[in-house]
């Protein structure tokens, strides 16, 4: 299944090129959280989208209609669709699907609406609140903009949302349900109420994100959107499209264990499913874009899961967490990391795990500390594991002949 278009908006920039340039340089987009209006949090830093010129992308009226999470999705999708050079026909619009991932919907809109009500005692909430906060708003606006009339839906599985979306999209094209799929996800989570809820979880780092590193103190929240254009490889070649790489497998599992604590078996099961779906032996994988949140709980558990699946080959694998640079964008994470993985394979450069201070014996993988590494990668996995124990893993093959 060819990936012929990529678009991304993140703390690393408002487009694909800025995203990749930062990843290849090992430069993070983490900084002091803006817009807290003097409120204090136990953490100060986040990976916020700072360079998106909303006025350049949307009329004022359209911008009013869109929560930031929907704006991120649409801007990323426009970039991906233009990149893929799709020539829309009425038949193709009817045979195209849009599948997006989103964890929490329009948090900023919800925050404003409810603070107006509870705090300002305004007695009324803005009438656009409902159509702006619904998690499918981005997908729906995108379908209207493009005139796409095939299946359009949004998946919400916390931090795995957009990997589930990519997997569903991949299977829909493979099964002939759709000719073309726009799949990915977006998230905009920097509103006070939501940040306070994360503060209470005690999993956000007070400094920065250091996945797999000693002295790591937690995750760093991020935001943005990423979209991919998927189509059958033969169709992509027939129309002369650029093929970044292929999605070749998808696996998912549920821990059935705990609402926040991860397990080894669940993630390992999802990785095995993805390999089986792709028809790949474990030793064919060269690189894993890890879930790698930087929390004390995730990284050693993910390390054990990778060792359980890959055995001795785990010592030969390159693994990195690009969340160390673009932050943890929840429902957008899987899609951003898919873009990172595809660009890494195409460029022959593996993005590092940034902010790495030194080894943690419980995370004894080759995590590409701090410096990007030239490498030829034929196959890769991208892991997403969610609160709620929902695991989704996508397998990729390079587009190189």
């Amino acid at each position: 299944m060819a990936v012929t278009g990529l678009g991304v908006v993140s703390a690393l920039g408002a487009n694909r090129l800025e995203f990749w340039t930062s990843l290849a340089a090992g430069r993070d987009g983490i900084g002091p959280i803006q817009g807290l209006d003097g409120w204090q949090l136990r953490f100060q830093n986040g990976a916020q989208v700072k360079t998106l010129d909303v006025g350049a992308h949307f009329s004022q009226k359209d911008a009013d209609m869109l929560d930031p999470f929907a704006r991120f999705l649409i801007v990323a999708a426009r970039e991906a669709v233009a990149d893929a050079g799709i020539e829309w026909t009425p038949a193709l619009k009817a045979r195209t699907a849009i599948v997006t991932g989103c964890c929490v919907g329009g948090q900023a809109t919800e925050d404003i609406g409810f603070s107006d009500l509870y705090l300002e005692k305004r007695g009324r909430v803005h009438p656009l609140t409902i159509p702006k906060i619904m998690a499918n708003a981005g997908a729906s606006h995108l379908s209207m903009e493009l005139g796409v009339t095939g299946p359009v839906y949004t998946i919400s599985t916390a931090c795995s949302s957009s990997n589930h979306a990519l997997g569903q999209g991949f299977w829909m094209v493979r099964d002939g349900v759709a000719e073309t799929v726009l799949a990915g996800g977006s998230e905009a989570l920097f509103s006070l109420g939501f940040l306070k809820a994360w503060e209470a979880m005690r999993v956000v780092a007070p400094d920065t994100c250091r996945p797999f590193s000693r002295d790591r103190k937690g995750l760093i929240l991020g935001e943005g959107g990423a979209m991919l254009v998927l189509e059958p490889l033969e169709a992509a070649r027939a129309r002369g499209a650029r093929v970044y790489g292929e999605i070749v497998g998808f696996g998912m599992s549920s821990d059935a264990h705990h609402i926040t604590q991860p397990t080894v078996d669940g993630p390992a099961g999802a990785m095995r499913q993805a390999l089986d779906d792709a028809g790949l032996a474990p030793d064919r994988i060269d690189y894993i874009n890890a879930h790698g949140t930087g929390t004390p709980a995730n990284d050693p558990t993910e390390t054990r899961a990778i060792r359980a699946v890959f055995g001795d080959h785990a010592g030969r694998l390159a693994v990195s967490s690009t969340k160390s640079m673009h932050g943890h964008a929840l429902g957008a994470a899987g899609a951003m990391e898919a873009v990172a993985t595809l660009l890494a394979m195409r460029e022959g450069i593996l993005p590092p795990t940034a902010n790495y201070l030194g080894p943690d014996p419980d995370c004894d993988l080759d995590v590409i500390p701090n410096q990007a590494r030239p490498a030829r990668v034929e196959h890769a996995l991208s892991n997403s594991f969610a609160f709620g124990g929902l695991n989704a893993v996508v397998a990729f093959r390079t587009g190189e002949p």
């Binding site: 009329s59 004022q60 009226k61 009013d64 305004r122 007695g123 009324r124 803005h126 009438p127 656009l128 159509p131």
Partner: protein
């Protein structure tokens, strides 16, 4: 007073729709101004805030023109405290 009321209603419509107030007259229909049902409730929200009134659903439903909107707001303002009470 009536002119002032018209001016304030038109200002609300212009601000909500991001269109020039000069384009809007008392005779303008919502259709001419490109105001759909969602735009309509958006304008009602702005009017409720502007005039500190509560516009009931049944009164809102039948309004199709700027003139009807101005008259409706005027009636609610004449109604005084009853119209401004919480629903």
């Amino acid at each position: 007073m009536a002119d002032d009321l018209t001016h304030r209603v038109i200002s609300c419509i212009a601000a909500t729709q991001h269109i020039a107030a000069e384009r809007i007259t008392l005779e303008s229909t919502f259709e001419e101004l490109g105001i759909d049902s969602l735009d309509g409730i958006n304008i009602l929200f702005a009017l409720e805030s502007e005039f500190s009134i509560n516009i009931p659903d049944d009164a809102a439903r039948s309004i199709r023109t700027v003139k009807e909107m101005v008259e409706g707001v005027g009636k609610l303002l004449e109604g005084g405290s009853a119209a401004g009470a919480p629903a």
